[in-house]
């Protein structure tokens, strides 16, 4: 007998996803990866989670945030402080995420009502103000000297599985937010907030909830990141470059698609890791060029390119639209 599943989750997606996660979970044991590759995978998975979380707000709701580093940083530092107080790591990550989400609601509830680029500009202000204040507040962040966490020799191997779990939940959430009936409401809000309100969708509540979720996952990813590096420093955690990188990854991967931002994150991390070693002078310009190309020719980014390739294969043409 088939177990009861919600209507938005067809079994083949569930099975496919589960197989993928299982493969990733088995990789370290089966292939005997070097710690370098394993750690790179961990970092990629963390970036994937944060970028997916960014996409719920920036893609599904169309509210492009240039300030997500604020949540990433708050999650990281709160988690680090809790870890230093001796509490178990997962508790620290969770509280870090909740702290980040709470902070996001404080500034997000009023600013989410802004339309178009006004919201983006407000997030820049939020991000920069948070960075400055956090660098000043050394009771929380250790100031510009940063915070050091105790070095645990076995932690990094475990973190891979935690990061994998986070990415899996983030992916499932991405899917749920898009395909459930909630997803339709989000699309309605993105295309016309007022009209959506007229037909009975509650934009304020939904926007706030999506921001809360997005900030929660970003904060938890920040907490895991802090544990991973055992040393965090506010100018790095809260940096404008970090905020920008979430935007870049999501846009290059396919903004508003379910898994596109994840692919964008993978591409971004790999490019950073392998291109930087050989062509450090060119990577900024490369991102710039990619951004321009994506905006002009393929608004769905890498995902859009993949869909086009699928469409060239006539038999699949009918199904290709589904992935959007």
């Amino acid at each position: 007998m088939r177990p009861a599943l919600p209507a938005w989750l067809p079994p083949r997606i569930l099975i496919g996803g589960a197989v993928g996660i299982l493969l990733l979970a088995l990789i370290p044991a089966v292939l005997g990866l070097s710690p370098y590759v394993l750690n790179l995978l961990t970092l990629t998975l963390l970036t994937v989670s944060a970028t997916l979380a960014w996409n719920w707000l920036g893609g599904y709701l169309g509210q492009v945030s240039f300030g997500h580093a604020a949540m990433f940083g708050v999650g990281g530092f709160v988690a680090a402080r809790i870890q230093l107080s001796g509490a178990p790591l997962p508790l620290g990550w969770l509280i870090g995420g909740i702290a980040a989400a709470a902070l996001a609601l404080v500034w997000g509830h009023p600013t989410l009502r802004l339309r178009g680029p006004y919201f983006s500009i407000a997030t820049i202000g939020v991000g920069e103000a948070t960075r400055l204040v956090m660098t000043y507040w050394d009771w929380l962040t250790g100031g510009s000297s940063g915070l050091s966490l105790p070095v645990d020799l076995t932690l990094k191997a475990q973190l891979y599985y935690w990061a994998l779990a986070l990415a899996a939940v983030a992916l499932l959430t991405s899917y749920a937010l898009r395909r459930s009936s909630l997803g339709l409401s989000l699309v309605a809000i993105r295309s016309d907030t007022d009209a959506a309100a007229d037909v009975g969708v509650r934009p304020t509540l939904l926007q706030d909830s999506v921001l809360f979720l997005s900030a929660l996952f970003t904060g938890v990813a920040g907490g895991l990141y802090a544990s991973y590096f055992s040393f965090i420093e506010p100018n790095d955690m809260f940096g404008f470059d970090r905020s920008i990188s979430f935007v870049l990854m999501a846009v290059i991967g396919g903004v508003g698609t379910i898994a596109g931002p994840a692919i964008g994150a993978v591409v971004f991390v790999l490019v950073r890791q392998f291109l930087i070693a050989s062509y450090p002078d060119l990577y900024l310009g490369l991102y710039g060029a990619l951004l321009i190309l994506v905006v002009l020719f393929e608004p769905l980014g890498v995902t859009g390119l993949g869909l086009r390739a699928l469409r060239l294969w006539p038999r699949r043409a009918a199904r290709a639209g589904e992935a959007r």
Binding site: G116, I124, G125, A289, L290
Partner: protein, 291 residues
């Protein structure tokens, strides 16, 4: 008392710089409803162009203003015709233009990096460390000149927008694009002119800032952020309101040092930005129309 006078002078001079930085961003937003993130790139480019002309050709930065304005205007028109024009207009294109122009900014930054390396540069002229002393307060000649140019730009831009035909056309497009087409204004031409003008003003600000501060290829992002604050305070579009907003921001930032640690004074502007957006999205001082 003497300190208050010093702070007031600092704030005034700083306001001049902030105003020049914000005119270009405000103009492009007013006409095209586009948030020009390549503003940062052109500020940086202006600083480098001034530096190259000064150190390699030997032209004084203030004499190179026409060259920089012309070059940046051409680059702006090119950028508009090549990329920006292809985007949908209005709110739909808002986020896309944000990303597109950010991409352009990254390309400019990378270009400067390849040409000039990441090292910090400074422009040194015979007057860059000269000062006038009046009433026990010292005025940097360079800062005074920047302030003068800010005022001149304010007056010039205001007259251009209110008294000349192209200026009036720009205001007309800013107010209502559709009826412009009806009365025979070439909206495309006016838009590209506005974009070019905005870019030229950004480079002018970069040139001036380059005579005051050290700069490298990432120069301009701080300036862009300040310009945002000014434009949001001033209400996106009116030139005198922008100048007034620049003064407000400078006064708040400078006098904040009497109350809070110096390090946090730059956060004040950002907090102000968010508050104004929440309370009065149209700006504190502004009306919608430009001019």
């Amino acid at each position: 008392m003497a300190q208050l006078l010093d702070l007031l002078v600092s704030a005034l001079l700083l306001a001049g710089l902030y105003a020049t930085m914000a005119y270009g961003l405000g103009l492009i937003y007013g006409v095209l409803r586009i948030v020009n993130l390549s503003h940062a790139g052109f500020i940086m480019a202006g600083a480098y162009l001034g530096w190259v002309l000064h150190t390699k050709v030997g032209i004084d930065p203030y004499l190179s203003i026409p060259i920089v304005l012309g070059a940046a205007y051409a680059a702006g028109v090119l950028l508009y015709k090549g990329l920006v024009k292809r985007l949908p207009r209005g709110v739909a294109g808002g986020v896309q233009s944000l990303l597109l122009l950010f991409g352009a900014s990254l390309l400019l930054r990378n270009g400067a990096y390849l040409l000039f390396s990441g090292n910090d540069q400074t422009v040194r002229t015979s007057y860059s460390t000269k000062a006038l002393t009046l009433l026990g307060t010292s005025f940097s000649i360079n800062r005074l000149a920047v302030f003068g140019i800010a005022i001149a730009t304010l007056v010039g831009l205001h007259l251009f927008l209110t008294k000349t035909y192209p200026g009036k056309a720009i205001r007309a497009v800013a107010q209502n694009e559709n009826s412009c087409t009806l009365v025979g204004i070439d909206v495309e031409r006016i838009s590209s002119m506005a974009f070019g003008l905005g870019t030229a003003l950004a480079s002018l600000a970069g040139l001036l800032a380059g005579t005051l501060f050290s700069f490298n290829p990432s120069f301009g992002s701080v300036e862009l952020l300040k310009s945002f604050v000014v434009v949001v305070l001033g209400g996106l579009g009116s030139v005198p309101a922008l100048a007034a907003a620049a003064l407000v921001l400078a006064l708040v930032e400078v006098f904040a040092i009497l109350l809070i640690p110096s390090y946090l004074t730059s956060a004040v502007g950002f907090v102000l930005l968010v508050l104004v957006l929440i309370i009065r999205p149209g700006g504190l001082l502004g009306k919608r129309a430009i001019g």
